[in-house]
Amino acid sequence: MASNEKYQLGELVRIRVGVPPTHFRTPEYIQGKQGKIATLWGAFPNPESLAYGGNGLPAQPLYQVEFPQTDLWQDYKGLASDMLLIDVYENWLEKI
């Protein structure tokens, strides 16, 4: 599937904040947080449309985003270098 990524490897992005009443795959614990693009996965059908019987097109570029755990959780019990990685669709990313 052709993909024209808006974001590049290593770029810092912010996760959009939102809790739509419909199906989506962006958990609250990363919303509003800043992370780094770790992998470009290419484009995939949009689950927000698939969930209602749609064809998921246009496909959404999918990114693996990396967050320092200490940015996500107060009182995180671990190393400052510990990371959380998660796959996020482009429509949930914002430029910083």
Partner: protein, 211 residues
């Protein structure tokens, strides 16, 4: 947060009878209406059953003994699976392999549901799908490792991967010390389901011979 008493979702009992009967009724109707056959269902069940942690262990043990294969596995897991005769169905989610080392320990979860590399290692264990693992492992992975009796070196970085989209993550466990002279088959026995999720380490040779 809502106060949710005992929430393990293991309601086998009055609920379970109702749901099993409802499922069987739906299935009977689907067959009656010609949507599918019982054979379709049983064939699919067997197909799903045909993948187990042993399949993953076989592949990962091969990566332990063959450094070039390991490189290919980490670069493109599905192509590497195919080399060993594992052809993932078209409809299967993508699978990628993450390597655990002395310095980096990866752990996989699906906080939103139960996404798991089923096509290569079979169904997830019950605990993986439960609320306690899904909620705790992202916020306190080291606490979860402790619950599983897994001890890491203090300086090891822990990376939790939440498989929220089209990718499923299979962990290549760190090869234990003292395994240099083991055959690939023996090495596969060290690679447990827990180590392929990242809540555990591969077994040590001593642990296996002691059992």
């Amino acid at each position: 947060m809502a106060d949710h008493g005992h929430e393990n979702g293991h309601s086998h009992g009055e609920n379970s009878e109702y749901y099993s009967k409802r499922a069987q009724a739906m299935q009977a109707l689907l067959i009656e209406k010609g949507v599918c056959t019982l054979d379709d269902i049983l064939t699919m069940a067997d197909k799903i059953d045909s993948r187990s942690p042993e399949d993953g262990a076989k592949i990962l043990a091969h990566a332990w003994v063959d450094p070039d294969y390991k490189k290919r596995l980490l670069a493109n897991a599905e192509a590497a699976f195919l080399e060993l005769g594992y052809d993932l169905p078209e409809t299967s989610p993508k699978i990628t392999v993450l390597e655990n080392t002395d310095d980096v320990h990866n752990m996989a979860v699906c906080t939103l549901c139960s996404c798991f590399p089923r096509a290569i290692i079979g169904r997830p264990p019950a605990w993986y799908k439960e609320l306690s693992y899904r909620s705790k492992v992202v916020v306190d992975p080291r606490g979860v490792l402790q619950e599983f009796g897994t001890v890491l070196d203090e300086a090891t970085q822990v990376r939790v991967i939440d498989s929220s989209a089209d990718y499923r993550y299979l962990i290549l466990p760190n090869r234990p010390a003292g395994t240099e002279n083991m055959t690939e088959e023996e090495l596969a026995k060290l690679i447990t389901q827990e180590s392929m999720i990242g809540v555990g380490l591969a077994l040590s040779p001593e642990a296996v011979s002691a059992s």
